[in-house]
């Protein structure tokens, strides 16, 4: 008996470790966003499988249509490869995109660690960093609008908000009393994209930087804040609309059950104020202010 136990024990340890590793991979993948939708690839239901065998990791992923833009598909695959490669125990990674017009090229390119340009040869005339940048800026705008609109709805004064620095914003979040931690979440999401714009600065010094600036790095004007947010709102509405479309197309392609049950419920109507939010923060800019964000 005791001999049998001794033999079995390592097997149990190995399998538990494999389970842990699979969980670790999923958790890392959750931090990879679809650049266009600004949502996690796991929450979107794009990742279909994670397998771990020792140090080898295999990841399966899919997209809502055969035609989804190749650059975003490549960026997601490459970002997944990078976050998994950073795990100390990983020795090799296979990422398999399925049923996509450029599946073969992307799978081969990512496996060989080739750049985007090398992967696509004549069909690209440079790297994808410009397009990545465009969508990082959009993510910044969307997250800033969601946060500012929420803070205003909570009754905060525009003049106070535009003067906050990053440390003060964190302090505001940690002392907020909203019941489900929404302020904290919105601030955390915003902080992840805040330094896409403005001065390039060491992380240690970021706390002194102004919390709210526009994409050009300029401070916000408290008097024009309503019109400014109205202009930004287009970006969020568009991303959420696309997110809904992509989820729907994925479900139509692979079946309703394909979207993860644990997915965060997306609340599209953040400017349709439902009961419960405090009055006083609603901006209704007059129509003639529509050009204010130029």
């Amino acid at each position: 008996m005791s001999t049998a136990r001794a033999v079995q024990a390592p097997a149990v340890v190995v399998s538990r470790s494999a389970v842990d590793r699979v969980a670790e991979v999923w958790s890392r993948l959750a931090a990879v966003d679809d650049p266009e939708l600004d949502e996690s690839v796991t929450e979107l239901g794009f990742v279909t499988a994670v397998e771990v065998d020792g140090g080898s990791v295999s990841i399966g992923f899919r997209l809502p249509t055969y035609w989804c833009a190749a650059n975003f598909a490549y960026l997601m695959a490459d970002d997944m490869r990078q976050v998994i490669a950073a795990l100390p125990w990983v020795t090799d990674i296979t990422i398999t995109l399925d049923e996509h017009m450029y599946a073969a090229e992307i799978n081969r390119g990512v496996a060989a660690g080739r750049s985007f340009q090398q992967t696509f040869g004549n069909e690209a005339n440079g790297e994808v960093e410009d397009v990545r940048r465009i969508f990082l800026v959009k993510a910044f705008q969307r997250r800033q609008e969601a946060l500012l609109s929420w803070l205003l709805a909570q009754g905060n004064e525009p003049a106070m908000l535009v003067r906050l620095n990053m440390a003060q914003l964190s302090a505001l979040a940690s002392t907020s009393t909203d019941d489900d931690g929404k302020t904290q979440r919105l601030v955390a999401r915003y902080r992840e994209r805040r330094f896409v714009v403005g001065r390039c600065i060491d992380e240690a010094e970021q706390t002194d930087e102004p919390a709210f600036i526009d994409t050009e790095g300029a401070p916000l004007n408290p008097d024009g804040l309503g019109a400014y947010l109205r202009a930004l709102r287009r970006v969020g509405v568009n991303a959420e609309f696309n997110g809904a479309l992509c989820r729907g197309l994925l479900a139509a392609r692979y079946g309703e059950s394909c979207t993860p049950a644990s997915a965060v419920e997306i609340k599209p109507v953040h400017f349709v104020r439902t009961g419960g939010s405090k009055p006083g923060g609603t901006f209704a800019p007059p129509r003639e202010t529509r050009g204010a964000a130029e």
């Binding site: 266009e36 809502p64 249509t65 055969y66 035609w67 989804c68 833009a69 190749a70 650059n71 017009m101 450029y102 985007f116 340009q117 696509f120 069909e123 690209a124 005339n125 440079g126 790297e127 994808v128 410009d130 397009v131 465009i134 959009k138 109205r230 709102r233 287009r234 970006v235 509405v237 568009n238 959420e240 609309f241 696309n242 809904a244 479309l245 729907g248 197309l249 479900a251 139509a252 392609r253 599209p268 109507v269 400017f271 349709v272 104020r273 609603t282 901006f283 209704a284 800019p285 007059p286 129509r287 529509r290 050009g291």
Partner: protein
């Protein structure tokens, strides 16, 4: 014709319909299969259950079903056929001006048939455009910038050579340029859906109208911006409108953004038939009211006047349709569908 509960008649011009053949017999390759499958995913994702079609019907529904769905059970009075050739994917093309014109000959008062051009066809394409203009008297073209052609995976309106086509359109009296931005425009490293090239074209050709189908989706935010700056840029509601059923809150957001930024005079209804059917789209659109919270915040209304413009008056203006005269014509020919010849 849609009749309100007060008895008011609303003349409906459907700005975006297709007569396609996505059947197995017409397929050239896997891309053709994936193309019609993708359309079917849009159909099944956004249609009400009672309006879902079996895939066989969807692949090739034919003239009779189309006439019936648009004008007999549906509320359309007229419809604009927007061709999508896709000759690299389908043996006889997917949805051609030629096939659309057969339909128009049977029902001349119901259909407006648009042509298409592809700037990659060079000089021969210009001749072909002349031919389309003389054969079919087209007033508009549909451009599908993502169409594959040999090694090319698409083009931009700012590409060299496109200008000559717009100049020829002006000369031939083709004044409505419907643009569908699709994915996979080369080079692949750039944003495949970028609408900035529409902006350039609209600025250079002030006498042409640019109707951006699907309101630039998935770049609706960028589209709103260029459309506010150009007086000759319009938004086609195909793909946006069906959200009214599955996700009315998104539809409320998007239509209010469109009303705010581009205004009710520049939005055109389109069903995108056979992806969706006019009957349910229009019933839901007429019944739809912007939530008070949205209209209060944006300061816009989706009034009955706005709905009438979107459903027909705006398209009538672009295509020179005298609605009263057209009503009288259709009254004369109104009869059960005698299709199938």
């Amino acid at each position: 014709m849609y009749r309100t509960t007060d008895g008011e008649e609303i003349f409906v011009i459907d700005g975006h319909v297709h007569l396609w053949d996505g059947s197995k017999a017409n397929l050239k390759n896997v891309h053709g299969q994936q193309f019609i499958d993708c359309f079917y995913a849009y159909h099944s994702n956004l249609s009400p259950k009672e309006y879902l079609w079996p895939k066989e019907k969807f692949d090739k529904y034919g003239e009779e079903a189309m006439y019936n769905d648009l004008f007999v059970t549906g509320y359309d009075d007229m419809a604009i056929c927007q061709p999508t050739y896709l000759t690299d994917f389908y043996k006889n093309g997917f949805n051609t001006t030629e096939a659309n014109y057969v339909l128009k000959q049977k029902f001349p008062h119901r259909f407006i048939v648009n042509g298409a051009f592809d700037p990659r066809d060079g000089e021969a394409g210009l001749d072909r455009l002349e031919e389309l203009a003389s054969l079919y008297k087209i007033q508009g073209v549909k451009l599908y910038t993502a169409e594959w052609r040999g090694d090319s995976k698409g083009y931009k309106l700012s590409d060299p050579g496109v200008q000559r086509y717009f100049e020829r359109c002006e000369k031939l009296g083709i004044k409505n340029i419907h643009v569908h931005k699709g994915p996979t425009i080369l080079p692949l490293n750039r944003d495949a859906f970028d609408v900035a090239d529409v902006d350039d074209a609209a600025t250079s050709f002030q006498n042409l109208n640019f109707i951006v189908e699907h309101c630039g989706l998935p770049r609706l935010d960028d589209f709103c911006w260029i459309a506010t700056q150009e007086t000759n840029v319009y938004g086609g509601l195909a793909v946006v409108l069906p959200f009214i059923h599955t996700r009315p809150e998104y539809f409320a957001h998007v239509i209010s953004e469109l009303l705010f930024w581009i205004g009710e005079d520049k939005i055109l209804y389109g069903s995108d038939y056979g992806i969706w059917s006019p009957k349910w789209l229009i019933e839901k659109f007429m019944a739809f009211e912007l939530p008070e919270s949205v209209s209060k915040e944006t300061g816009v209304q989706l009034s009955l006047t706005a709905k009438k413009k979107i459903l027909g008056l705006n398209a009538a203006r672009l295509y020179g349709i005298d609605i009263e005269a057209q009503k009288a014509l259709l009254e004369d020919v109104r009869q059960p569908a005698a299709v199938g010849a």
